[in-house]
Structures are given as structure tokens and as C-alpha cells.
Symmetry: C2
Subunit: 419 residues, 2 copies
């Protein structure tokens, strides 16, 4: 590789709002998206919410000449909705499905049925190893009373851990997707602090965004409209994040969004805006490596965000255990009622009423049983994420104060977080 | 690091058969296991089937001086059962829960409720990065009619992928655990071919095993007694696998098992025998690196095993889709019967019978609905594993015949496997 080596990487990200039977103008939007991607010829196009495999196959065929390699990530009941189209050969593929992803009984929200995941693609570009990740985290339905906060923090931690452990010999790391978190949200900070990923929107020298407000986001109403900074449509939950790991530096030359409509026909691609980033990768002497991963100045902010996440997961664990205990009481009550109904049915007077009440009562016991098992599983998943966070806290504190042994640091970490 | 650098690594692995209310003599066995581990002072002790967190905490306290670092991996409803005790500080921890793990309605087998997983520990030993993995795959209840074969192959592939992608900057990789597979089983071959891991039992210069047959395995009857080689107790489903990634070579000096009893008191630790390996890591010039990962001579066997796994997963997908379709028909039938019962209940003559049949009918519809959703999810998980296998097949064939473009190779790979 020459010392003046430079690689340009053009990346496209879009949450496609491609939900069979629910999303409007799917066929038309997919067709225009295909035309646009063919015209622009990005290096990588990473898409979320492509919940129709037929639509993926349609795009795959339409884009086959410009993007010869593609992959559709399958998980859960409905699917992860993630897919990718690449101009360059994809060397390796892997998927990690998040342990926690909402509640099965929240059918109207539906995230649980999707099997939210992170997809990894390894590409070799001009001798450079690029790890590209695409993901979609649990939606936020109410900012004021967010019952999914602990799950989203756990997902952000799993995502950060997955990137941290799978990118150790990558030269460049790229994460695109719909994180369903605002830039200063706990999960977003946790992800950035633990992986060292940088936000293209903050880092870019040249941002071109829509100025005429959001288009279909308010109609879909699945994210609140709280204003968080100068982003044109008020909310920012889709991201292009990146870092160079060693010997390279990466910068974002331009970041563009669509402007409530696609650049050619004037109607929107989706209920989200697309992100289009142009990144440059260059050689960098090791001492000038700008990667901020776990450097001493950032350590205090890492500790802060780890502690905050630890507390949030702790609240989630308490909540999960409360629901499991409540479901346990309901099971006991339901079983008692069943016995009572059997006694009543044995007599003559209330036999019909007793038989009529069997159905809802058996439903109650089975439903409570399912809820009990589900929340036990939820508690276990949250406990694992919390234990991993606590371990990292112990290690970070130990490197801060090497005179502490590893076990004393671990003890202090756990002591500090135990309520 | 000196050129004559050599590191000795003593490793202990045991499936502990520690199931609350079911396993016999738990307290006594845990106490003796703790004494033995303290006495032997291994570098790493990796345990499976520790399904009682109280027992883990008991061992943690008992072993705290000899093994100052420990971790319990939490997942699923009951737990993964995995834990680890380390003499050296654990630098990093991560867990990956397998996407597929049996069927929730197979309550008597219970694997689905456990959340089977793989745990990763990163250790730094004398400047060497050691990635140690501990896992436990789905049990085999019948070798002749193994309904879990596709799930175990998918788990083996996920395990292989997890190791492949997370160990890229490790110097030494170690995998211990209960794979529930015989050495020549498809999943075991897939794991070894894709990761390059070598079997301590095959590689060791000095094997000392029990000679008085198996102890509690036949009583527990959850694995068949088919003889597969000279291993003392006939079946071999617990493994110590290892490899050195680059610049190092690793060899197994000794491999010992317990002999139907613990070495001191004469009664067994568990219904499995423990494995105790002494490994030596040395410097190795890169050209003498014995790591067989994907080298040209092994490529044809890799292709063979990938194709076989592809076919097995295909059979699993067909089965999952059949069950989903069957459950779909049952739902339609159940709904039709519900309407019929409503009509009967409206009349006078058969009202009581109709009301009495509501409960089982509603149960039928709900049960079939759950089975439909579950098998849809199963098909998605198997499809993802199959797609990843197909992608690897395409890449391997492309490197075999570089004149083929990546897309032609992919096409050939998919064409060859499509039925």
C-alpha cells in the first residue's frame, strides 16, 4: 500500500418502511429506490425495515449489475428487516440476534416478532479490511414513559460488545442503521464510548440536509417529535458511525440526507430520510491515530456512562422480577379458582356458570404462566448485560488505579453499583 | 517475549449435572468438586450444567483464593448453565445465545428453557492473548431418530462463526464444553473444519482415561451408548479443542479424564467424566505454523462438510415449514369449530355440550397459533444459517478457481445445493 493511499467510500442508509399490508405505496417506493441506488452507484447500501423478502428479491434483481453482492438477514418470526447491497464482493457474513427485544404480548407494537439483530459484513477494499455493520434497535413509542428503555440499553450494549469483539483485526469499522435513539441518549453514548465509533453528522465537514421538515414521520407517529438539535426533521435516530482501528484515519467528507422527497421525483422514499455519506480513509502514523477508544481523557466519561447503564439495567431487572412475581401470584389464584369451579361444577346449582368460567380461567393460568416465563428470561438477559458492564467497570477502574488489584477494583465496581 | 518462550496451560472441563431438584447428591458433589479444583489449581476451570446460581456462588466463595476471577453466564429462562473459574484476571467477557435450541412444547426435554449459549473469555497470559470459549449444545435424546439434528448443526455453525469472527487477534483459541456430538458427527466436523480447532484427545501425546466404563451416564440415559472409538466410557461428547492462530504453536502434553469417580473419594463428580488437559504454547516461525485453517489440502473436506450441513439444514427448513403449514390448517379448523360451537350454543339442545367444548377448542387455536409462530421463527433461523453456509461455499470455490468471478462461484454454490 502506498504511503499516500486514500480510499473513498460512498455509503447509503435507509429505514425503508417496507411493511407488507401496512406501509403505503410500497411497490412504487421500492421501484424508485432501486432506480436511485442504480443511478448513484454507492459502494454499500444498507437498508432496514425491508420486511418483505419479495421486495428484497425484487431489489436484488434490479440492482444486480451495479451491486453484484447482496444479503438478506433472516431472524425472528417476521424477520430482522435488514439487508445490504454491495458493489464489492462480501467476504464474510455473520448475524447476531439481540437477546431482548420487547414483549410478545405487546402485539400492536410488534418489535418482539421481528427478531431485531445486527448484521456483519467483512469486505476487502484495496487491501483494507472493512467491517460494516447494519442494525435496527427496538422502537421508542413514548419518550415520556418508555417501557422499552432497559431493552434498548441492553441491545446497545450487545451491539457495542459485538462490534468490539468482531472488529479486532479490521482496519475500518462502519455502523449504519436505525438505532431508535437520539444522539445524547444513554444507549447511544454507551455504544460510542465503548466502541470508539464517531458520528458522521458531528464529524462531517459538509452537511446537506432537508430544510422543509419531515415528511411521513409524523404520520407514522412511532417516534416523538422532540427537537434535538439542528437536524432538519427534528429527530435523529438513523446514524452513520465509523472509526479507523490502527494505522489508518477516516474522515467524513460529506453527509447528505434526502429532503422529504427523493432527489428526482419529489415523493418520499420512506417515512425516514436516507443518509448518504462520503468517507475517506487514509494512512496515519500510529501516534497520530485519532481513535478515541478508552484513552485516558475519555475514561471518566466511559465510567459515567457505564454506571448510568448499570443503574438503568438494574431498574429493568427489578421491573422484570416484579412482573414475574405478579404472574406467579396470578397463577396461584387461577389454580385456586379452577379448583373452586370444579367443586361448583360437581354440585347442581351453579354447574353452568362454573363450566362457562372455565375457559377464561384456564386462559388466565396459561397466560400468566407464559408471562412468568417471559419475564424470568428478561431478568436473566438483563442480568447478563449488567454483569458484563460491571466487569468492564472493574477493568477500567483497575487501569485507572493500577495499585488496586483486579479483584479489589471489581469489588469496588460492584460495591459502587449495588443498591 | 523470548524466542524460547513456553507457556503451560492446565485446563479443567466438566458437565456438572447440577440440576436443582433432579440431580442426585448435588451438595456433596459440589463440595468435592470445589475441594478438587482448589487442590489441583488449574489455570482455567470451565463448567457446564451449573443450573443453580446458588451452587455457582458457593463454588465462587470456596474457590476465591485459588481462582480469584469467575463468571456465570445468564440466559434463557433456567440459564445457560455455563460458568468459569480463572486463576488469571479475565480481561473481557461476552456471551452469544444460540438462535435455535429445540422446541418449547418438548417440556420433558427442557433444552428450549435453558437458553443454550457460548461464553467468551479473553485472558492475557505472559503477553499472549487467549480466547477461551465454553459452550453446551442441544442434547441428543435419540441417535436413531434425532429430531434436533438440524438445530444442533445450526448451533455448531453459529459457534464456529462466533469463534471465527471473535478470535481474529487472539494468539491462542481454546474451546471446552459439552457439544452433545460424537467426534465424527456433522456438526463437530463443521466446527473443526471452519475454525481449524484441533481435538486434544486426538492430538495428545499422553492420554489417561478411566478404564472401568461409564458411571452415571447410562442411568441418566440422555445420550445413547453407541461405541465410538476407544474412549473408556464409549461415548465422547465433551471436548477440549484448541489452536494457535499465528506465530505460535500449541500442543497437548497430557489429557486425563476422571475414572467413574473423583480421584480422591471414589464417588463420581457428575454423570459426565471431567477432562483435564495440559497444553503447551510455544513460539513458531510463521511458515511452520501448523494451523490447518482453510489451507488448500483441507479445502475439499471443508466443501464436503459445508455441503452436507447445507443439505441437513435444508431438511430442517422443510420440516419447520411443514409444521407451520400444519399448524395453520389446525388454526383454520379450530376457528371453524368455534363458529360451529357458537351456533350450537345459541340453540337449546346442545348448549351444554357446546359450552363444554369451548375450552379445548380455544386451547387448540391458541396452541396451534403458538406452534405456527415458533416454526416460522425456526425456519427463519435455519434459512440464515443456510445462507451463511452458502456464502462460504461460494467464497471457498472462488478461491479454488480464481477464474470464476465471485458471483459465478456463488451461483454455482447455490445451484449445486438447490433441490
Amino acid at each position: 500500500m502506498k504511503p499516500n493511499f486514500s480510499l473513498r467510500l460512498r455509503v447509503f442508509n435507509l429505514n425503508c418502511w417496507d411493511i407488507p399490508y401496512l406501509s403505503k405505496h410500497r411497490a412504487d417506493r421500492m421501484e424508485r429506490l432501486g432506480d436511485f441506488l442504480n443511478l448513484e452507484s454507492f459502494d454499500l447500501a444498507l437498508l432496514e425495515e425491508v420486511w418483505s423478502e419479495q421486495d428484497f428479491q425484487y431489489l436484488r434483481q434490479k440492482l444486480s449489475l451495479t451491486y453484484p453482492d447482496a444479503h438478506y438477514f433472516r431472524s425472528g418470526i417476521i424477520g430482522s428487516g435488514l439487508c445490504v447491497f454491495s458493489k464489492h464482493p462480501i467476504q464474510e457474513i455473520m448475524q447476531h440476534v439481540y437477546t431482548l427485544n420487547g414483549y410478545p404480548y405487546m402485539v400492536c407494537h410488534g418489535d418482539w416478532f421481528c427478531g431485531k439483530a445486527v448484521g456483519l459484513l467483512v469486505l476487502h477494499l484495496s487491501g483494507l479490511v472493512l467491517n460494516a455493520y447494519v442494525t435496527h434497535l427496538h422502537a421508542e413509542y413514548s419518550r415520556q414513559k418508555d417501557i422499552y428503555l432497559a431493552h434498548r440499553v441492553a441491545q446497545a450494549w450487545e451491539l457495542a460488545q459485538f462490534i468490539h469483539h468482531t472488529s479486532k483485526n479490521a482496519d475500518v469499522v462502519l455502523l449504519c442503521g436505525d438505532l431508535n435513539m437520539h444522539p445524547k441518549d444513554l444507549g447511544c453514548c454507551l455504544l460510542k464510548e465503548w466502541t470508539g465509533l464517531r458520528d458522521a453528522y458531528i464529524e462531517t465537514q459538509d452537511f446537506k440536509g432537508s430544510e422543509d421538515g419531515c415528511t411521513m414521520v409524523p404520520k407514522n407517529c412511532y417516534v416523538s417529535q422532540q427537537d434535538l438539535g439542528p437536524f432538519p426533521f427534528g429527530i435523529r435516530i438513523d446514524y452513520v458511525l465509523y472509526k479507523a482501528v490502527s494505522g489508518f484515519c477516516i474522515s467524513c467528507k460529506t453527509l447528505k440526507t434526502t429532503s422529504g422527497s427523493d432527489p428526482h421525483s419529489g415523493t418520499p422514499f420512506s417515512d425516514h430520510e436516507a443518509l448518504m455519506a462520503t468517507l475517506y480513509v487514509r494512512h496515519s502514523p500510529p501516534q497520530q491515530d485519532p481513535s478515541p477508544t478508552n484513552g485516558p481523557p475519555e475514561r471518566s466519561s466511559l465510567i459515567g456512562v457505564l454506571r448510568e447503564a448499570w443503574t438503568e439495567l438494574g431498574l429493568g431487572i427489578a421491573q422484570a422480577r416484579w412482573w414475574a412475581a405478579f404472574a406467579g401470584y396470578v397463577i396461584v389464584l387461577g389454580l385456586f379458582l379452577l379448583v373452586l369451579l370444579c367443586v361448583l361444577a360437581a354440585g347442581e346449582r351453579a354447574m353452568e356458570v362454573a363450566i362457562l368460567l372455565w375457559t377464561p380461567n384456564i386462559g388466565l393460568v396459561l397466560g400468566a404462566g407464559a408471562i412468568y416465563l417471559f419475564h424470568m428470561q428478561e431478568a436473566k438477559g438483563l442480568c447478563q448485560a449488567q454483569a458484563e458492564l460491571q466487569h468492564v467497570l472493574g477493568r477500567v477502574r483497575e487501569t485507572q488505579n493500577p495499585r488496586l488489584g483486579p479483584h479489589l477494583a471489581q469489588l469496588l465496581a460492584s460495591g459502587g453499583e449495588q443498591s
